[in-house]
């Protein structure tokens, strides 16, 4: 019976597979669509044109319109990464928190507070930046762990604990900074956000200096991802479990290759790979690994799926919760450092509203409020969907008021579609 079933799986036609997995692909396609849309919408060729002219240009001179778009310009892509890195970093931890069935409203305040503490340590107290960074990460972990303690061992809903935390740390960052902005920071600290991986070669190409190292790293990462994908597929095939049709598997990997190579090419044409991009990618890879391959990750999903059953299966759910919030706290601290380093100043307003974008990223990415469901890659794509929209709408000159309205509607639409397809599949 096993073999017969598996064979039918292998023969499953492409359409049915796509239909069954539409939710996974829909997210990636949405991001691509949004990026394409803003590439066109931000095109210099369309500035100051009437609606009719815009339509006319789109039909007659589409290539030129796309070419003049701002979104994919190397400098803007670099900005996009820098602007969103702290959201992505926090979304990684938030996904764990949400999958475990909790929520953390305090991450914005905590990141602002940690940024403030770092500023005070480095500027008036003149403590070494690296020591400061370590101390601040530890502080974040401690804050997260403290909140996690109340959630885990006293069973106070995370919503309430972290709501309290949000107020507390918002207030504390004001106190720490004395209501003023503190900066600028030592050069070595600024490099965290504004630094680039130095080029090992000196090449001039495509009408300017070209960071060959960035392209090589991009190629290496692409090769690694494809290698792991192929390896996984081999193993699936060995067990007769490869459900994905060949053509989709190949197509998916070609797309990944184009995206990564194209992206590193763009980066290479500007200043190369930002340091924070390396940090971000390392963390994404680490968290994908943790959630999909480790016992810790599995337990998080089990806990969110059914806490009582997990507890009765010998999982120490209290310790897990404590650990998850500790990780979240450390990531919030890192995000706070990145944000402070980017602005080169710590302000009392830093981190304001970050929690909303981070939580929205996870839910756009397909995480379920009830827990037990969600993927790291989903949260990352969700964060970039928000990031691209922020970036694109700012370039288009849309006011902050309407930006919020539109982002709210996108969140609603994303979750609605997710729920709709889930119910349809059931």
């Amino acid at each position: 019976m096993t073999e017969a079933t598996d064979k039918t799986f292998a023969r499953t036609d492409i359409m049915r597979f796509v239909k069954a997995n539409i939710r996974d692909y829909a997210l990636l396609l949405s991001l691509l669509f949004i990026m394409a849309f803003f590439q066109i919408a931000t095109s210099a060729a369309l500035q100051q044109t009437s609606f009719v002219d815009t339509l006319y240009l789109l039909f007659t001179d589409f290539g030129n319109v796309v070419k003049q778009g701002v979104l994919f310009k190397p400098v803007n892509m670099t900005n996009l990464i820098l602007q969103n890195s702290y959201i992505v970093i926090m979304a990684l931890g938030m996904l764990l928190v949400i999958v475990a069935g909790h929520i953390d409203l305090s991450v914005g305040s905590v990141s602002g507070f940690v940024g403030a503490v770092a500023a005070v340590m480095m500027v008036p107290w003149k403590i070494d930046p690296f020591l400061t960074m370590f101390a601040c990460l530890a502080l974040g972990a401690l804050i997260g762990g403290g909140q996690g303690y109340f959630v885990a061992y006293h069973r106070i809903p995370a919503f309430i604990v972290t709501l309290a935390g949000m107020l507390i740390f918002k207030g504390l960052s004001l106190t720490v900074l004395g209501g003023a902005s503190v900066g600028p920071f030592p050069k070595s600290f600024q490099l965290l956000s504004s630094g680039f991986v130095p080029d090992a070669f000196t090449v001039t190409a495509f009408g300017g200096p070209f960071n060959l190292l960035a392209l090589l790293i991009g190629a290496l990462v692409t090769a690694l991802i494809i290698y792991f994908n192929v390896k996984e597929r081999r193993e699936q095939q060995a067990h007769g479990l490869a459900e994905e049709p060949d053509i989709i598997f190949i197509g998916r990997n070609v797309l990944i290759a184009i995206a990564f190579l194209g992206f590193s090419f763009l980066m290479a044409r500007y200043k190369g790979l930002p340091n924070v991009l390396i940090v971000m990618f390392t963390l994404i890879a680490l968290f994908v690994f943790i959630t999909t391959r480790t016992t810790f990750g599995r337990r998080v999903y089990a806990m969110g799926g059914n806490e009582k059953a997990s507890k009765l299966s010998g999982i120490n759910t209290e310790r897990m919760t404590l650990l998850i919030f500790t990780i979240m706290g450390a990531l919030a601290a890192l995000a706070g450092l990145v944000f402070a380093a980017r602005l080169n100043v710590a302000t009392p307003k830093a981190g304001l509203g970050f929690e909303l974008e981070v939580i929205a990223a996870c839910f756009i990415g397909g995480a379920a409020v009830t827990g037990g469901v969600g993927k790291i890659i989903g949260a990352v794509i969700g964060a970039f969907i928000i990031g691209v929209m922020n970036n694109g709408m700012s370039i288009m000159g849309i006011g902050i008021d309407w930006q919020q309205v539109i982002k709210g509607m996108v969140l609603m639409l994303a979750v609605f579609l997710d729920v709709y397809y889930k119910n349809k599949a059931a």
């Binding site: 480790t294 999903y301 299966s313």
Partner: protein, 511 residues
């Protein structure tokens, strides 16, 4: 009974994408009749009732429904309730933190301009509670009364809606013997008042006790309608119709090879987790030998689950005293991981709430209690995990499309097999199985008994808690009888009988 039938369901056919759930099913209920609908899980009982109550609206199925002589097309549950057809589901639909009166009148509050007349509601609640024989104040919160009484509140709620045909889906599955009997008596009382009932149950002894007629469903078809008044109907006769074959033996044969005592509990005492002065387990002494199946009999509320859970890493209770001895040595069972390390496993009575991660698939559920067994330095070896899941799927004959099937979509019997797989993979020496066959059909029960036998043959000590006495008598070597937190009798299964067990319980109450 020459009268016109109150309900006629004619040639009901209901298809879901890819599955034919019902094929030309006929069901006729006479006025003032208790009609039992029996069948294995998946036979189509619930689907049939959903068609009747309008959960599946008219048009989504083929066939006709006549109620009180006229054709009906129910589009919603409100339509069917409006005509007096009321279903009480297995999972009760009461709001725990509202009072009895508030629950009874939920959605039908006696109100004028939206202002509720609580005096009228209380007065009517009192009258209704009297009818169902429930002595509770209308103000009592649902959460503060037991399942048996909650069931009665549901029935009172139905009476308030002018019920003509009452449908009860597994009403006694979570009730003890006394409450079950009281409920069945109540149905008989309704019968005298001309209210018809449809009783859906797995408990055939109850069917024989109260039903006038029995409709047997198998694979979505009506296979038999038996009249208990015209012919002598036996349980075996019904089972034969349900499974389509003669079940000569409801319990697989086994030859016990009993070895050394491997598990001992000495003077185990537990207090209630919230009410610190309530002594729930009062000094239990228990032992189990390798290769032995030990049954624990008792009524609901006797403390059997509480005993098991308190032993399993203090998952229940407080102020726990006593000693657990495993393989002759004192065992630390103070937390669940420690209890598991000591060799214990506990499969809960409520597999959906406490046993499975329902949104996850079989593979992940099987390895959940022993992730260390499929991982190296905390990294899961997917291939190993897969082969483990495949092995248990084969060994325990879990019926599924693949081990990647979500457990929520499995039948009760197969869900239970997944739970058992999980605990088998944790490699215990002592397994405590709490109501391992609750709510699963006859065929799957037989398979579960087979698994229990294999475990015993492999030298494990198996402790089975069950409310079904024939089951305990059929599979155990030795039986403890528990009542009010104490073991009140111990007997070898071959000397035991249902009467003996009941007598032991009754005698313990007299003390």
């Amino acid at each position: 009974m020459g009268a016109e039938p109150i309900l006629q369901m004619k040639n009901i056919t209901k298809t879901f994408p890819g599955v034919k759930a019902l094929t030309n099913v006929n069901l006729t209920v006479m006025p003032g009749e208790i009609h039992a609908v029996v069948g294995e899980n998946g036979a189509g009982k619930s689907t049939l009732m959903k068609v009747l109550s309008g959960v599946y609206p008219a048009g989504s199925y083929d066939g006709a429904i006549d109620f009180e002589g006229s054709a009906r097309e129910f589009k919603t549950i409100a339509d069917s309730e409006g005509t007096g057809i009321i279903i009480i589901h297995q999972e009760l639909a009461l709001v725990p933190l509202l009072s009895i009166a508030e629950n009874i009148f939920l959605g039908h509050e006696p109100a004028r301009h939206g202002v509720i007349n609580w005096f009228e509601a209380f007065a009517r609640t009192k009258a209704l509670l009297k009818k169902v024989g429930l002595e509770e104040h209308p103000n009592t919160l649902i959460t503060n009364i037991g399942t048996g009484k909650q069931q009665l509140v549901e029935i009172a709620k139905a009476l308030n809606k002018k019920v003509k045909l009452l449908i009860l889906d597994e009403p006694t599955s979570s009730l003890n013997e006394t409450d079950s009997n009281a409920l069945l008596e109540l149905l008989k009382g309704f019968k005298a008042q001309g209210i018809s009932s449809i009783l859906i149950t797995h408990k055939l002894n109850e069917v024989l006790k109260v039903a006038d007629r029995i409709t047997v469903l198998r694979d979505g078809m009506t296979v038999d309608t038996l009249d208990t008044h015209t012919a002598k109907v036996s349980e075996d006769r019904i089972i034969k119709a349900m499974v389509g074959r003669e079940l000569t033996d409801r319990f697989p044969a086994r030859h016990s090879k009993i070895g050394e005592t491997i598990f001992e509990v000495k003077d185990w005492s537990v207090y209630h987790p919230l009410h610190a002065d309530r002594h729930v387990i009062k000094g239990i002494n228990l032992h189990a030998k390798a290769g032995e199946v030990v049954g624990i009999a008792g009524l609901m509320g006797a403390g059997r689950t509480e005993l098991a859970m308190s032993l399993f890493g203090r998952a229940y209770g407080q102020k726990i005293t006593g000693e657990a001895v495993i393989h002759g040595k004192h065992a630390d069972v103070s937390t669940i991981p420690k209890a598991m390390d000591a060799g214990l496993a506990y499969a809960t009575e409520d597999r959906k709430t406490f046993g499975l991660v329902l949104i996850d698939h079989i593979k992940h559920n099987v390895t959940l209690a022993n992730l260390g067994g499929v991982s190296r330095s905390s990294v899961i070896d997917e291939n190993k995990e897969l082969s483990v899941a495949q092995k248990y799927r084969k060994d325990l004959a879990i019926r599924c499309s693949s081990v990647f099937q979500t457990t929520i979509n499995l039948s009760g019997g197969n869900q239970q097999k997944v739970v058992l797989s999980k605990w088998l993979f944790s490699g215990p020496d002592i397994l405590i199985l709490d109501e391992p066959t609750r709510g699963i059909d006859v065929g799957a029960k037989y398979e579960i008994y087979g698994i229990i036998n294999q475990l015993a043959e492999a030298g494990k000590a198996v402790i089975v808690i069950s409310s079904e006495m024939p089951e305990l008598l059929g599979i155990s070597d030795r039986i403890y009888v528990m009542n009010e937190g104490r073991f009140v009798a111990e007997m070898a299964a071959k000397d035991a009988s249902q009467e003996k067990i009941m007598r032991a319980i009754m005698k313990s109450w007299d003390k």
